[in-house]
Symmetry: C2
Subunit: 290 residues, 2 copies
């Protein structure tokens, strides 16, 4: 009755009957599913035909026919790529944009209808995030980004919120040593964000000083994505970036209330050292030679 495999299969059944229905609802606008998918992919910014074909896993002949039928409907125009006239670029016409918007409205309505029926939205969304992260695990990308950009700021906000929940004395970023963004960007350092289909799931900063010693800062993994090995992937990315910057020694500070992080450091070659700063929040300090 509680067989984990049975629970996963029950989930699969629930989801195929519900989300499958969602898929075919793209019908009902008088267009086969294949053409609707192409229209949507173009609307979401994919314009290169080869890219579209790859993304939708379509045969080139089939892709070509879908484009033709969308052109005949007056929803799409194609023109040769300016750099390479063999390739083609697809664009929505004004009518195509309207049709795309109609699909978007439909999808959004379906999504909010499903949300509206639960009185515990946030818990349900968290569960959906967790399942989506686990299913899409192989598609989680690590991007090097500007620590002042949107995805990074979102992660940092979540990180601070979590610290203030988990540290016994709370957390106020103004009292902590907030690293200068420029120290976490090339050429001094780096900042990485883990993105799953657009949703930021984790981050880490490499704060350089121009010298041979750098610090790891702001390692955070979204609760929905824990257990997927993301912390380790982020740390690996930061270490690789450090090596490229010829950094010889990495340091970090952390708090003993953050058990998973401490566990990660202890199992990946870090050794505990004495306090090396006067930040009021950390009580544990680590170092690793590269």
């Amino acid at each position: 009755m509680l067989d984990p495999v049975a629970r996963v299969r029950r989930f699969n059944r629930a989801v195929t009957s519900e989300v499958g229905a969602l898929d075919t609802s793209f019908l009902g606008r008088g267009r086969p599913l294949g053409a609707a998918r192409v229209l949507n992919a173009i609307g979401h910014g994919r314009s290169d035909v080869a890219d579209l074909r790859d993304y939708l896993a379509l045969d080139s002949g089939l892709m070509s026919r879908f484009l033709r039928s969308l052109e005949e409907e007056g929803l799409v125009t194609t023109k040769p790529h300016p750099d390479d006239a063999r390739r083609r670029i697809a664009r929505l016409t004004a009518a195509g944009r309207r049709e795309f918007d109609a699909y978007e409205t439909l999808s959004n309505a379906q999504a909010s209808a499903m949300l509206a029926r639960s009185s515990r939205r946030e818990a349900l969304l968290a569960a959906m995030d967790m399942v989506a992260a686990a299913l899409g695990r192989d598609r989680i990308r690590l991007d090097e980004v500007d620590p002042r950009g949107d995805p990074a700021r979102y992660c940092l906000g979540e990180y601070y919120a979590e610290l203030s929940r988990r540290l016994a004395r709370g957390f106020d970023v103004a009292l902590s040593r907030d690293p200068d963004a420029l120290d976490m960007m090339a050429p001094r350092g780096a900042f990485f964000v883990a993105l799953s289909d657009g949703l930021p799931l984790g981050c880490v900063g490499l704060k350089g000083s121009g010298g041979a010693i750098a610090e790891i800062k702001r390692l955070w993994v979204a609760p929905a994505a824990r257990g997927l090995g993301l912390g380790r992937r982020l740390m690996d990315a930061a270490e690789t970036a450090a090596r490229k910057l010829s950094i010889a020694t990495l340091r970090l500070d952390t708090n003993s209330a953050l058990g998973e992080a401490q566990q990660l450091y202890r199992t990946t070659g870090w050794t505990e050292i004495d306090r090396f700063n006067d930040d009021p929040y950390p009580d544990l300090f680590f170092e690793k030679d590269l």
Copy 2:
């Protein structure tokens, strides 16, 4: 970035690409998906052809052809229904059973592969249960069952485990007044379990005494299913059953640590009364006239 609708749609995308792949993996055994679905439905115990057609939402002509092709492959036999020779009954042959088992093995392997890749299995399963319960909300059935049977015993076990977590003094069923199973079965009372595609998600007992007063006992809703209105549905079922048994007054005891339950009682016509038993765990008592 944190738009709830966007999060739901991201979930849908993650799930269609993953679970869609799962669906088409039924191919690869050299049989079109439709026929494979029929074979699987038969293997899962559906034998009546009309029932199969209904369950799989197939046209009668198509269904007939799928059955013919499975018969030609030697996987299925059909025979007229003993009570009505117009209807037909489908059965797996030994070869059909082997083929069905192969599909089952494949599905189970895929499910456990997905589980094996997360190091937080229980959290992931809980999230999947929650999503499945929310998606399948309309398909949650309330069944009147024997309180000594498997689904009821599972719910009661979860209920006791939750009490021992949530009550300040813990919970030991031996110290509580455990109702006699016969008091929660016809003709004295009733016991209901909420089932979502086979998984028990909640329960409630109506404990009768043969007289005009009965008690509500063991109201429990699985954490994964909270917020779907299941508690209210279970209480309604118990009240309806009580009315059929000509019970005039319902009572119940609860603990003030169980806030959602208390909230439910207060908003559905129950009034607080004085203690009416000497059970050590409850500290709140309610009554409702029917």
